[in-house]
Symmetry: C2
Subunit: 282 residues, 2 copies
């Protein structure tokens, strides 16, 4: 019987560190890290996410500044706002909530965010630097998967890691992060032959395919660490890709959904904000 990885508990430690950092800044008479969030229109998902970001920001003693724009805004006006925020020394990070209305070119506009304030790690420059192994902001979900693995205390260097899924925001960056930790990394996907056998080679398995309850014990090597990044909504309930109970019987560690990877992501975003602040201020 394996151990359940407690994402909330790990996030709590990081939250305390961030809170302490913000307090210290305040006590030193300095400003605290400031996050600019932008929403365009009334997309329900965007508003939910931005509200949780603002709430966590305040809770940690950081400063949120929200810009709620009308759906009818032009691309030029939105770019002007981003450029204003890029040049504003009192703003450390910029989060543009996606999706944007159809008349705005999402890629075009996102790419305008200064890479030094792109704390979600989505600009081409940040991605390029990340893949070269240089200092860069990393997409938070991938980073969260890595943090949960590190927290188990299991050795990563030299071990076989299999990442199931190759999305730009989870699969590929998770593989890169684990390669940076000197793991031997294999990326699997829908076209992989003998998928179960390949997954069974993994000392550490990261599952990010978005197919709920699709990875059972026949994918798992005994004693493996299993990180479930899946978050599908099934009958209104957030559900992971891994069949938790049966995998837990074989694995050494399994991250649950909810309570695993997702519990860390917004906190890691705030941690990136503090990193951007350090670069911006000093």
């Amino acid at each position: 019987m394996g151990n359940i990885i407690n994402g909330k508990e790990i996030a709590k430690c990081l939250k305390n560190d961030i809170r302490k950092f913000a307090e210290d800044k305040k006590n030193q008479g300095s400003r605290v890290p400031c996050l600019a969030t932008i929403t365009v229109g009334q997309d329900g998902g965007s508003i939910y996410y931005v509200n949780s970001q603002i709430k966590l920001c305040k809770d940690l003693g950081l400063e949120p500044k929200h810009f709620s724009l009308d759906e009818s805004i032009t691309e030029e006006e939105l770019i002007n706002l981003i450029e204003k925020l890029n040049n504003d020394k009192s703003i450390d990070g910029i989060m543009l909530q996606l999706p944007l209305p159809k008349h705005i070119h999402e890629k075009e506009v996102s790419s305008k965010i200064n890479h030094k304030k792109d704390i979600d790690g989505l600009t081409d420059i940040n991605l390029g630097r990340f893949y070269k192994g240089e200092k860069a902001f990393v997409p938070c979900t991938a980073n969260s998967a890595l943090e949960l693995i590190k927290n188990t205390g299991v050795k990563i260097q030299g071990k076989r890691v299999v990442v199931l899924g190759r999305s730009n925001i989870v699969g590929k960056p998770s593989a890169q992060l684990l390669l940076n930790e000197n793991a031997t990394v294999t990326i699997c996907h829908s076209k992989t032959e003998n998928l179960k056998e390949v997954c069974k080679e993994a000392d550490i398995l990261v599952v990010a395919i978005g197919r709920p309850q699709s990875v059972g014990k026949d994918y798992i090597k005994e004693g493996a660490v299993v990180i479930d990044v899946g978050t599908s909504s099934v009958n209104g309930k957030i559900t992971g890709d891994v069949i938790f109970d049966e995998v837990l019987e074989i694995a050494s560690f399994v991250s649950p959904v909810p309570g695993g990877v997702g519990s860390m992501t917004t906190t890691l975003l705030m941690n990136n904000l503090c990193e951007a602040f350090k670069e911006n201020v000093y």
Copy 2:
């Protein structure tokens, strides 16, 4: 006994295509693709490479423009030249030969090349786009490895590929290119445990570690395709990473050194130049 992959022959076909493209442009009264090459100082390697680029350029009916700068040039002057070439509509590709003299920040200066003219695929923006699976210029050595594999006719999709080495210009982009072809890709490196066993899983093995004659038959699965990207100089002779004769006994295809990957790279650079031309002109 396996087949020897003939890089020169494959390059020849691509050269003919490029020559035909340039001829067609000329016949249509259009200008031909133009490559700007820049050398700073008298580094022997740089001069050797730039001369071979210029020679091939002319041979294919493309236009080379060479800028030979004095070692004492300032960073600002070099950046000014790059920006002039960026804005020059008659220039399609820019190759800045590295290394640069020590007083010039290589990364800083390279990043100034407009990503649309960065036919060597080294700017952060190009890399970021490439890793997202978007249209981008790809480092030519990695691309050469892929072309040699494709030329064997062996199925790539779903197959196990092992890339041995994780450099930014060969290992990582080769892995990404093969992932784009729907292979199941594993990246190995100096910290990999049980290296021989992992390599033996490969239907296709790409070796790029730069340790001459270090990969013998005990790394090879019977019938595998083996691509040798190693180019070390041993007693003045270019030598690959693979022990060619013994690996050829087991593999289905092996690329030799010289005559393999290296025979394609400059031609692929010229192919990128033609792609840049198409984007620039139309």
